[in-house]
C-alpha cells in the first residue's frame, strides 16, 4: 500500500491535466455527489454508468490504470462477505453490491490523485474541530516517513531472523520493533514542535487559502457534474 499511496500522492502534485488545475472545492463537491449517488442509486444501469464516469475521470486525469485498479479494488474483499450473505442466484444483487463501493473508492482515488493534500485537507479542516483538522495535516506529513521507517525496520527484522521461530517470539519482536517507532514518533514531535515555534506557529495550521479559487478548469468539473445529474435523473427509475 505504501507504494500505491506514494504514487497517488506524487501524481496529485505532478499531474498537469485540467482536473489537476481545477479547484479542490469543486472536485470535492463533484466527488461527494458521485459517492452519494453511488450509495443511494436504486438502478443497476445508473450504478454501471456512475462506475464508467468514475473510470473516465481517473483515465482522463492520466492516473495509471493498474495503479487505479489496485487502489480502488480494496472494497472487493470486504464486499464479498455481503455477496456471500445476500446471494440470491441472480447477477443483479452481487453487481449492485460491488458497484457501489467500487465507484465510491474509484472517485476517492481520482480526487486524491488530482488534488495535493494541503488543498484537499484545507476545506475539510475548516469543517472539523481545530485539533482534528491540524491532526489531518500533521498525520499525513508524518505518514510517509513513518511508513518508510517501518518498512526498513521490517526488512531488518526479517534479515536478522525476526521472522523465524515460534509465533509468540516473532510477535513480541515485532512489538519491540514498533516500540522503537513510538519513541521515534515522540522524538519527532519534539523536533517538529521546535520547528513550528521557530517558524512562528500561531496555534493553527491553516493550509493553503487557494482551495476555493476558481479557474477555467472548474468549468470542466461543472460540466461533469451536469452530465452526472442528467444521467441520474434519466436512469434513476431504470432497472
Amino acid at each position: 500500500m505504501i507504494n500505491t499511496l506514494a504514487q497517488i500522492d506524487y501524481l496529485a502534485s505532478a499531474g498537469r491535466t485540467p482536473w489537476h488545475r481545477a479547484s479542490a472545492l469543486s472536485k470535492l463537491l463533484l466527488a461527494a455527489g458521485l459517492v452519494l449517488l453511488a450509495v443511494f442509486a436504486p438502478s443497476l444501469l445508473l450504478l454501471a454508468g456512475l462506475y464508467a464516469v468514475a473510470w473516465a475521470l481517473a483515465l482522463t486525469a492520466r492516473l495509471p490504470w493498474r495503479l487505479t485498479l489496485v487502489a480502488s479494488g480494496y472494497p472487493v474483499a470486504f464486499t464479498l462477505l455481503f455477496v456471500l450473505a445476500r446471494w440470491d442466484g441472480t447477477a443483479d444483487t452481487p453487481l449492485r453490491l460491488l458497484l457501489r463501493p467500487l465507484t465510491a473508492s474509484l472517485v476517492a482515488v481520482w480526487l486524491v490523485g488530482t488534488t495535493p493534500y494541503p488543498d484537499l485537507f484545507a476545506p475539510l479542516s475548516r469543517l472539523l474541530p481545530r485539533s482534528v483538522g491540524d491532526g489531518l495535516f500533521l498525520t499525513y506529513r508524518a505518514l510517509f516517513e513513518l511508513m518508510r521507517r517501518t518498512s526498513g525496520l521490517w526488512r531488518a527484522l526479517r534479515l536478522r531472523g525476526g521472522a523465524s521461530g515460534p509465533v509468540q517470539r516473532r510477535l513480541t519482536l515485532a512489538g519491540e520493533g514498533f516500540a522503537t517507532m513510538v519513541l521515534y514518533g515522540f522524538e519527532r514531535s519534539e523536533r517538529l514542535y521546535a520547528t513550528m515555534r521557530l517558524r512562528g506557529h500561531s496555534g493553527r495550521i491553516c493550509g493553503c487559502h487557494h482551495f476555493a479559487e476558481g479557474s477555467r478548469a472548474d468549468l470542466l468539473v461543472a460540466a461533469a457534474g451536469l452530465i452526472v445529474t442528467a444521467g441520474a435523473v434519466l436512469l434513476w427509475r431504470m432497472p
Binding site: 470486504f78 450473505a85 463501493p101 474541530p129 482534528v132 515522540f186 514531535s189
Partner: protein, 218 residues
Amino acid sequence: MSHLHIPDGVLPVLLWAPGLGLALLLLVLGARALRGASPQRLAYQSALGALVLAAMVVELPLGPLDFHLTLVGPVGVLLGAVSVFQVVFVANAILALVGHGGLTVVGLNALVLGAGAVLARSVYVAFAQRWGPTVALTVATAVTQIVSGALWLAVMAAAMHVQAVGPHRVKLVAGVAFPLYLAGIVIESAVAFGVARFVIRVRPDLLPGGATPVEKPK
C-alpha cells in the same frame, strides 16, 4: 478484524448516518476537552496516528494469511481516550481518501475502532498497580480488540438484519469472521506485550503514571 474498514454502499443508511453524526459529536466534545493541549502534544498524537497507519500496512505472515495490525491498544494507553479517538478518526479519514474504507462510513469505522481504543488507558491504569505495566498494557490491548471486534460483528449482524439476510447466511459469515476476530485479539496482544517490554526498559515515562513530558500543560 476491527479495522476491516467498511466500504461505502454496503451498509444501510440507518447505520452509517447516525454513526457519522455520533463520531462528529464526539470529536467536537473531545476538541473542547483538549483545548489547552500544546502543539507538541498534537504533533506526538499525529506521529502515533501515522504509526497506526504504518502498522496497518505491515503484513504479518501467519500461515496462508497475512495479518494487518492496528496498534490502537498501545496508542490508546499512551495517548488516553480523547486523543486516541481523534487519532482513529484521522487515520480512517486518510484511509477513506485513498479508497480504503468508505467516505460515508468514516464515522462508523472510527466508532468501531475507537470504541475499544478509548478504554485502553482506563484498563491499563486499573491493572498496572497489581500486575505491572507489561501485563497491564497487554490486557488493555486485548480488551481494546475484544470491544472493537465485538462492535464490528454487531454492526455486521445489524446490517444483515436490516437487509433481511437469513439466519443461516449470518451464521456462514460469522463462521468466516469469528476465527479472524479471535486471531486478532491474540496477535495484537502479543505485539502489545513486545511494545510494553521495550517502552518500559527505554522510556517508562511515556506510559501513564510516569512523568511524561507530553502530559505537562504548556
